[in-house]
């Protein structure tokens, strides 16, 4: 547990809505390059944790450090700039926009957003655009060879699994240091989920140092992918460790009412 390799550290992180405590004093540490599975029954605070990390919810108490700096209370924009990107449980692609546009939304950090540049330096804009088209093409192709062909179609024209792929690409294109995946298997078949996971793992092979926190109900996915698991219940961490140890834990089994993987 060398401090230098710690990418993310939370201490006593709590989130409250009115009287309801959605996350209660969570301590968590993530190493550079690690894949952490986050599991727990519905409503146990997993997505709330993501929302607090990415700055959408304000923590009631506790502190968060990311990549060597404290990010407690920062705005979502600043946290994205620090190198954190996510997907959403219910897909939040911009369906009327093209696949390329959606990727560029994730690529925000690299876009030149000056008024003068965009309106009047059109040839330099075209050069920049060309570079991003190439990057988008390479990333999409890594997920599926046919995806680049559909780059200029509306995201809404894609099927479920392709939308998921695009959403993961949108989070990856900015080359974040931490990727938060919120239930990528939702609404997909077993095979589709496995395909997507393979793609993600392959991508990680090419981006060494990328860390992932994965929320997932499919225990098979968690078992295969995660190096370590954290189990939440009622907003509190009840168990932590390798998958096999975690599912054997009586507290965890009780939380899942005996339906653990």
């Amino acid at each position: 547990m060398n401090e230098a390799t710690t990418l993310l550290r939370c201490e006593g992180l709590s989130v409250r809505f009115g009287g309801l405590t959605a996350l209660n004093g969570l301590d968590l540490r993530l190493h550079e390059g690690e894949i952490l599975g986050l599991i727990g029954p519905n409503g146990s605070g997993k997505t709330t944790f993501f929302n607090a990390l990415t700055g959408l919810y304000r923590a009631a108490s506790g502190r968060v450090w990311f990549a060597g700096a404290e990010i407690t209370g920062l705005r979502p924009q600043a946290i994205y700039d620090a190198g954190m990107a996510r997907t959403f449980q219910r897909s939040r692609l911009c369906l009327p926009l093209s696949v390329f546009d959606n990727l560029m939304i994730g690529n925000h950090r690299r876009l030149s957003l000056g008024l003068w540049f965009n309106l009047f330096r059109r040839s330099r804009f075209a050069q920049e655009l060309q570079r991003h088209v190439e990057r988008a093409r390479v990333l999409l192709a890594a997920f599926h060879p046919h995806l680049p062909e559909r780059m200029f179609e509306p995201a809404g024209a894609l099927g479920m699994i392709d939308r998921r792929r695009v959403e993961v690409c949108r989070a990856l294109i900015s080359e974040p240091r931490l990727l938060l995946l919120d239930e990528p298997s939702a609404g997909m078949t077993h095979d589709e989920t496995r395909e997507l996971m393979d793609d993600i793992l392959a991508t990680r092979g090419r981006l060494p140092g990328l860390s992932i926190i994965l929320i997932e109900h499919e225990m098979g996915v968690i078992e295969r992918v995660s190096e370590r698991c954290v189990v939440l219940n009622f907003g509190e961490k009840i168990c932590e460790g390798p998958f096999a140890a975690v599912v054997a834990d009586p507290q965890v089994q009780e939380a899942y009412l005996g339906v653990s993987g």
Partner: protein, 388 residues
């Protein structure tokens, strides 16, 4: 070689379509008989809707996307020809200039509502800010009139910034109320403010530029006299061309992408680093500047401004135009502007019923074709974009 030839080949239908639209505009402005107006309107609507479904429509779209520059010059030329054909006709030119200026204002609303999703129910108020600015500055100062027009836009943008903070803090219906309240507040304020002429409003001097007075008819030879509205129509055409270029480039850049991202999903946009406030401010201000600029020219053309022209109902007409045409599609917005401005003038029967008819029409559009008559297409960053 071959590629070039084929590109050239696809341009001709598009040039022909431009000429046909110009010819239609000429006919429409020229005809008097009511049944002819009805027939032309019905024909145009059918053609417009059919174009979206036929191969010709796709071919035209492809041509515009592949080679926009020559086609845009062609369109400007065609519009100039129509203006020139009516050089002696006060009424037709007034209508043309009105369409062009309302078009500029509606392009402003398109940036706000169509791109950034900031609904503005006080568009007419910002149009009015431009008009009143022109009235005061042109009457009481010796400022060159080009600057007066610019000041109209700048002041509209500045007054709009009073609403920026409340608009940023609120969302959805709450934000809609802010602009509704402002529209009523603005009109009432004008009515009770004696310095600005109260309900009677103010007179606005005609435009002068480089010693050229816009309000004098232009004598050509001995017995030809061109309407003074010709100057305004040409000026408005240039203004609209500029606004169109601005909106096009805005949409086809990272700016347009940012506005879309903010409109479609504010939360997701903020998670990917978009400064939601910055983009809303940009869109709202830019839109109001366009509305104010158009309002200043319009006021100088008609010679007076009064509160009754800048009511909530007028603002609703502007919003209707933006929806009817197709949210976020500048070309559709211009078509809808022409329809909404010219039709009641030409079709005397409906003059009295125009609010009723347009409202009913917008209801039908919202129920059955919410994307508008000419729906917006995917973003085309560059000519020929999207053939992967």
């Amino acid at each position: 070689m071959n590629a070039l030839a084929s590109q050239r080949a696809v341009l001709w239908p598009a040039f022909a379509a431009t000429a046909a639209i110009a010819g239609f505009a000429y006919l429409f402005l020229r005809v008097e008989a009511q049944w002819e107006v009805v027939a032309l309107t019905a024909g145009a609507l059918v053609a417009l809707l059919a174009l979206g479904r036929t191969r010709l429509g796709a071919a035209l779209g492809a041509a515009w996307s592949a080679r926009p520059a020559p086609l845009a010059w062609g369109a400007l030329l065609a519009a100039s020809v129509v203006v020139a054909l009516f050089a002696e006709d006060h009424f037709a030119l007034l209508m043309i200039a009105t369409v062009l200026l309302y078009g500029v204002a509606c392009l402003g609303l398109t940036i706000q509502f169509g791109y950034a999703g900031v609904v503005n129910f006080s568009g007419a108020a910002f149009f009015g800010v431009g008009g009143y600015t022109a009235a005061v500055l042109a009457t009481h100062t010796a400022l060159p009139h080009l600057l007066v027009v610019a000041a109209g836009g700048v002041l509209a943008g500045a007054i709009g910034s009073l609403l920026v903070l409340p608009l940023l803090r609120t969302r959805g219906h709450y934000a809609a109320l802010i602009t509704v309240a402002f529209a009523i507040l603005f009109k009432t304020f004008l009515e009770v403010n004696d310095a600005l002429g109260g309900p009677q409003g103010l007179k606005v001097p005609g435009m002068r530029m480089l010693g050229w007075s816009f309000n004098d008819n232009i004598a050509l030879g001995e017995n030809t006299e061109l309407s003074f509205y010709l100057s305004y129509a040409v000026f408005s055409l240039l203004l609209l061309a500029g606004a169109l270029l601005l909106v096009r480039r805005l949409e086809r850049s990272w700016l347009g992408l940012s506005l879309d991202a903010v409109r479609i999903d504010e939360t997701a946009a903020s998670v990917f680093g978009f400064e939601v406030a910055r983009w809303k401010i940009l869109a709202f201000t830019l839109g109001n500047v366009l509305a104010g600029t158009a309002g200043a020219v319009y006021a100088m053309m008609t010679g007076f401004v009064a509160p009754a022209s800048f009511t909530l109902a007028e603002s609703l007409i502007l919003v209707s135009i933006v929806i009817l045409g197709g949210l976020g599609n500048p070309v559709g917005v211009l078509a809808a502007t022409a329809l909404v401005v010219v039709l009641p003038e030409k079709l005397q029967v409906i003059q009295e019923y125009r609010f009723l008819l347009f409202s009913g029409f917008v209801i039908l559009v919202l129920l059955f074709r919410p994307e508008g008559l000419l729906p917006r297409k995917l973003r085309q960053y560059l000519p020929g974009w999207g053939r992967a």
